[in-house]
Structure formats: C-alpha cells, structure tokens
Symmetry: C2
Subunit: 197 residues, 2 copies
C-alpha cells in the first residue's frame, strides 16, 4: 500500500530490537517528512559506527582503537578484573564511577538452549590475562539469570587453578526497592546474605 | 563513555520519534554487533526512501510516481474525496478495503498553538479538485481532536460554495469497546448519534 522504497525501509526498521511494525511506520514516515538531509546524516552515522567500532584486544569491550579507554587508562587498578557478559554492562558500571579496575567482556553467557557453550565466550583470553598480569581478584558480574549464574559457576572453577581471588556481585533488595514489590527468591537471597550492623 | 562513532549513532537514533536513550543504545549496540553489512542495508533503505518518496500531485499522499496508486487506479470511485490529515491516515483507510473513493491529504490540521494556519494546508488544491472534477461528496476524516474538529468545520464552510455534499466520520463507541473504558465525552457523542433499529 505504501510506495516500494518506503515499505522496504519499514521492513528494515522493524528488524531492529524493540521496533514493531507501528514504530517502524512512524519512524519511516518521520524520515520521509524530514527529507534526504536527515536520512543522509543517520545513514552516515550508522555506517561510521558499524565500520569503526571494534573490540578492545585486551578486554573485548567496544573501542575504536586497539585498546579501549579503560584498558588504555594508566590510572585504573590493574589488580582487579570485573567479568561481564556484554559491552553494555561495562557502561552500567562506568556510569556508577565507583569501580576503578579493568573489565573482561565474555560476549554472552553459557546457554545450551541458544547453542552458546564456553568455547564461544572469551574465556581463553581471560585465562591468558590472569597468567600474564598482576591480577589478584576476579569479580564475576554476569547477570543474575540462570545462564549468568551457570556462567559464573563455570568461570569460578575455571580460574581456580590460577590462584586469584574470585568474587560474585551481591544479590539482594535493590536500593529504593519496596519490599512488597521484591520477588520471593530475591528476598530469600537477601535474607541469606544479611550482614550484622 | 562509548566510542565516538557509536555515541554519535545513539544521539542520531534518539532523535527519532518514540526512541528514547535506552532504545537508541540497544539499537546502536545491535547494529554494531551485526556488522557493516546490515548497517549498509539499513543506510541504503533510509536514503532510497527519503530520496524516492514524493507527494502525489493530485492528492498529496506519498508516492514514488507523479500519481499515487489510488489516484492512478481507474477503478476507484472519482465522485467521493476523503479528506485526511496525514499520509498514514490514507493507509488506515486502505487497510480496511471498504473505501473505494479518492483521498486528499491536508498535511496537518489547523493548530494556532503550533503556528499551523489554513494556508499551510493543501486547501487551494482541494478547491481546485472540486471545481474541475465530478466530485459530489467530500468526507471530512480529520482526527477527532480539537484541531481535527476545527479543521473539519473550517473546510465544511470553505467547500460549501462548491455545492458538493459534505460529511464527517461518525463519533462513537469503538467496535469491541467496553463501555466501562469509553470516556464520557465519547459516550455522550455516541448517545447523541444513536440510530433507530
């Protein structure tokens, strides 16, 4: 019903995560209304990002250079490595500004259902980093999901021979969280992990 | 915190309607993960749509040709013109397949708050179509908002001298609508517009 090139754009847009047919239509009509100048700008930004963004050769976080801004920063604490699933998790920590160590991005979590085994994750590279450097703690910051927990357990066993300390993020009630809205598993874990005042 | 070209893409994406910073981040990371091939495809679709999509010279709906598929279709009923605000409204009617007449896209609704007066809408062109053709009914299908109602009233007066029939879409309870969820103004309008069985 729409002109061919517009229908094609809607189709391409609706493949993006979180964009349904209705949002795709809205965005496509918006771009057509704004004209070729805006479309050109967005197209260039897309190509530049997809072409220039590489993985840091040390931690596999996103970077335009060989080393990401964290790995390249001489003031970071090189004795602690925080292991996360995805590059966006690095950003979540960096927003907080409280962690001063390094990261290691696995590129996912072990999930037999999705055909992701340990060999698909950057685990060999993690072991190499532990072997070569002065790291004395590995913080397992994978998600608090079944896959994330399984991955954390797997890595804890894997890095044990390296003789570094291994820790896991605390599970509990989120700050500002109303107890009434916290699920029972989280509440039970928060109770197990209670600390003395 | 993100590499420059990725941050730029997120910024561009978050200017799109319905895309907040979180969605922009998700889409940008998705595009980077999928690589330059997918980005290239989306970029080309964007440019093609923005460059090729023009306005139909007759009804101002979107088209890649001089005339849109509705205006160019010889089997459409040329005695009825359905006046709508935006190209997406044409699609809403076309999805239903029950309307067989022509359209006229105004390009908005009269809205003094947004600085849109009658002269910004394709009204002269509507009058020209009424003068030249065999149209005997104009259906005012602008939105049921204050601006849409004002626009409908304005057009009704404007086209009166042309001597064609003017009608307005019915207002009432949507099909499948639970009365409990219908607002009082709609309900009162539905009551006013009740028909005998």
């Amino acid at each position: 019903m729409y002109p061919a090139s517009l229908a094609k754009l809607m189709d391409e847009l609706s493949r993006l995560p979180g964009i349904g047919p209705k949002s795709a239509q809205r965005i496509a009509l918006f771009m057509v209304k704004r004209g070729p100048g805006d479309a050109q700008r967005l197209a260039e930004a897309l190509l530049a990002a997809a072409t220039n963004t590489k993985r840091c050769r040390e931690c596999f976080s996103l970077s335009e250079d060989e080393l990401c801004s964290v790995c390249a920063n001489p003031s970071r604490d090189r004795t602690v490595i925080c292991v996360v699933e995805e590059p966006r998790d690095v950003l979540a920590f960096e927003r907080g500004l409280s962690f001063r160590g390094l990261y290691h991005v696995l590129g996912g979590a072990i999930s037999p259902m999705d055909g992701v085994g340990p060999e698909q994750l950057h685990l060999t590279e993690l072991l190499n980093r532990l072997r070569d450097s002065s790291v004395n703690e590995v913080i397992l910051a994978t998600s608090s999901t079944i896959e994330g927990e399984a991955t954390a357990t797997y890595i804890a066993k894997l890095v044990a021979p390296a003789g570094v300390g291994v820790s896991r993020l605390a599970t509990g009630v989120p700050v500002g969280g109303d107890l009434d809205y916290v699920d029972e598993v989280t509440l039970s874990r928060a109770l197990d992990g209670r600390y003395r005042l």
